[in-house]
């Protein structure tokens, strides 16, 4: 396992040491791909660098909690900080109002590690494996300025207006649209600005589509229509320097439609709420009180390669550090007296049930 860890960390070293004669918002990835930051440094690390340009990221929502909005906010804000044009679509009447909730870079966190405090190091030795190699991955080149690849975004500090009053941001409301054709055309126009050619990348763009199949939308029962929208969006995005992030609530779609969307995604994430005051979970997990939800990484984009990405862990807890900064942490199983539990290192893929019953690690 130790060799696996160092391999991962040396990969991230390689990536960051590659000559980036580009924009600070871009990072070279493997196999000729380029990464942009998701706006959450933990997520960038988990995904091996960030979101690949040309990929489609889908986030499966939990109908009971708005955690997907946290991811969207950070994604959109990071793009605006890097002056990457943004197209935002949402089923609300006034999507532009959402821009006022985007986070701004905060003052960097005081403690250098996101890990639980040192008293936890005194716990049982087999838990120590989780910390082994982590300091290497924690290298943060952030100065807190706007020139960092990924900023520490403070969700309680709104983004300065000048970032989104310029013409970089296009907002579309899909609430009253009879179908997705208008949005598809807007996306096509946006993507045309970033079509990829063989030369170096001059600029990247971001598309954020929130809950495109929410029941408020008139076309929400036209499943094949929605599927063909996503398929054509994916096709157009592949040949452009844009990352598309789309969220959808799988519980409101038929299972086969949801599975088709999951297959179409290059990177597939899901967020789940966890109930407050759940005594069983509190016994099972350490740090339960600070968790607001769970993040599952089902699939990581592998463009131009056939090798799958196998993560050490696929479920992470969503925490708000100091109630401002979004962090993802590996789940830490509380010491229980001998009752089995699956092996940490290779946790199975979690189901995306909305019920937070007994967790499947």
């Amino acid at each position: 396992m130790a060799t696996t860890r160092t391999r991962v960390s040396s990969f991230s070293h390689n990536v960051s040491s590659l000559k980036s004669s580009q924009h600070p918002g871009l990072k070279n990835g493997p196999n000729g791909t380029t990464f942009i930051s998701s706006g959450i440094s933990d997520l960038d690390k988990i995904l091996g660098g960030g979101f690949s340009l040309g990929s489609l990221v889908m986030i499966m929502e939990d109908a009971e909690a708005p955690h997907h909005m946290l991811l969207l906010r950070n994604f959109m804000s990071q793009g605006l900080l890097h002056r990457q044009p943004l197209l935002y679509a949402s089923p609300s009447k006034d999507p532009r109002a959402f821009l006022g909730t985007l986070p701004s870079p905060g003052s960097s966190k005081d403690d250098t590690s996101h890990k639980p405090s040192h008293e936890k190091d005194l716990r049982i030795a087999w838990q120590y494996k989780k910390y082994f190699g982590e300091p290497q991955l924690n290298i943060n080149t952030n100065n807190g300025g706007h020139h960092d690849y990924c900023n520490d975004l403070d969700l309680r500090k709104p983004l300065e207006r000048h970032f989104f009053t310029s013409n970089n941001v296009d907002c579309v409301s899909i609430q009253n649209s009879p179908n997705l054709d208008a949005l598809k055309d807007r996306c096509a126009e946006f993507l045309a600005q970033f079509s990829r050619n063989e030369g170096s990348i001059s600029s990247a763009g971001r598309i954020a589509i929130q809950s495109f199949c929410s029941p408020q939308c008139k076309y929400s029962d036209m499943e094949w229509h929605m599927l063909s929208f996503i398929r054509s969006l994916k096709g157009m995005a592949r040949s452009s320097n844009v990352v598309v992030v789309a969220t959808f609530p799988p519980s409101l779609l038929s299972p086969s439609c949801s599975k088709r969307l999951q297959h179409m995604a290059d990177t597939l994430l899901s967020v789940r709420a966890i109930p407050d005051e759940d005594k069983e979970l509190a016994k099972l997990l350490t740090g339960y009180q600070d968790m607001v939800g769970l993040l599952n990484v089902h699939k990581v984009a592998r463009l131009n390669t056939q090798v799958p990405v196998i993560l050490d862990a696929t479920t992470f807890s969503i925490k708000l550090q100091k109630r401002r900064f979004l962090v993802f942490e590996c789940l830490n199983q509380a010491p229980v007296d001998g009752s089995g539990g699956s092996s940490y290192g290779n946790s199975g893929v979690c189901s995306t049930s909305t019920k937070a019953g007994p967790l499947d690690f």
Binding site: T4, N31, G32, E223, W224, H225, L227, S228, R231, S232, K234, G235, M236, R238, S239, S254, P255, S256, K259, R260, Q262, H263, M264, L268, H298, K299, L303, N304, T305, Q306, V307, P308, I310, L311, T314, S342, N346, S347, G348, V349
Partner: protein, 260 residues
């Protein structure tokens, strides 16, 4: 690679070590690859693509791409030791980019869309050099995207597949297609999947390990080969199970528990 002998996948698909003397095992056969979200089966397509080019000097491939653009396949196959660009220049590789194909919903009759796709395949085959026409492989990646392009009309998709199968089986060509079986396993219209499985001669099912994801073993494969000895009229079904690990320049296949 082929000098090193055949791996488990090759054996399961029916490849022989003495390629020049035996007929190509995929002649006139339909290989259906099934996978799921957790474990992608695209590597099987890459494997067959590479085998098509390297085992026979005069073979051709018609590739219908619904999922990825050509750059993706070019890079992947290049690492596997197969240069798609030069095959294309030699007239042995036809890439039909169907990423943006969308059949018209109303107005024009629906089967216009898929019928034109079939015509493109026929035209590509007719444009082949007569030498390269002996062993043609038609690859479809993937059927579920084809369904979306056909606006969910599974009848049209089935008709299209039947047409392709007739074309390939009558001319001794091979048909290879990828489909995502977990889309259909939830009960809606399982008949669609069953029909295609029935049509297939070789079924390759790719699944994750029952114990979850692992770095050393990426999943398990079950290959079901419906062999028919036409002379005797006997049909036998050969089933093989093994595990695999996907690397950049190679795919390793091994029996469960034998990974060194």
């Amino acid at each position: 690679m082929e000098h090193q002998g055949l791996n488990l996948m090759d054996q399961a698909l029916g490849f022989h070590s003495n390629v020049t003397q035996q007929p190509w095992p995929l002649c006139g056969r339909f290989v259906l690859v099934e996978d799921c979200v957790d474990t992608s089966g695209a590597f099987v397509l890459h494997h067959i693509l590479k085998r098509s080019f390297t085992s026979r000097p005069s073979s051709a491939v018609i590739f219908l791409a619904f999922a990825h653009p050509i750059n993706h396949y070019d890079r992947v196959l290049r690492k596997l030791g197969c240069n798609l660009s030069s095959q294309r220049d030699n007239g042995r590789f036809f890439f039909l980019d169907m990423l943006m194909l969308q059949c018209p919903v109303e107005g024009k009759p629906k089967h216009d869309g898929l019928a034109t796709v079939f015509e493109k395949i026929e035209r590509a085959i007719s444009e082949l050099h007569p030498e390269n026409k002996k062993f043609v492989t038609v690859v479809i990646d993937d059927i579920s995207c084809l369904e979306v392009a056909a606006n969910g009309s599974s009848n049209d998709v089935l008709d299209f597949l039947h047409y392709c199968y007739t074309l390939t089986s009558e001319n001794g060509y091979a048909l290879v297609a990828l489909n995502h079986q977990d889309i259909y396993s939830d009960g809606e219209r399982p008949a669609f999947m069953l029909e295609i499985e029935y049509l297939a001669d070789i079924l390759v099912k790719v699944d994750p390990l029952a114990t979850g994801l692992a770095k050393d073993v990426h999943g398990q494969v079950m290959v079901l080969n419906k062999e028919t000895q036409k002379q005797q009229g006997i049909s036998s079904i050969k089933v093989q199970n093994f595990h695999f690990k996907i690397k950049e320049n190679n795919i390793e296949y091994f029996y469960a528990g034998t990974r060194t």
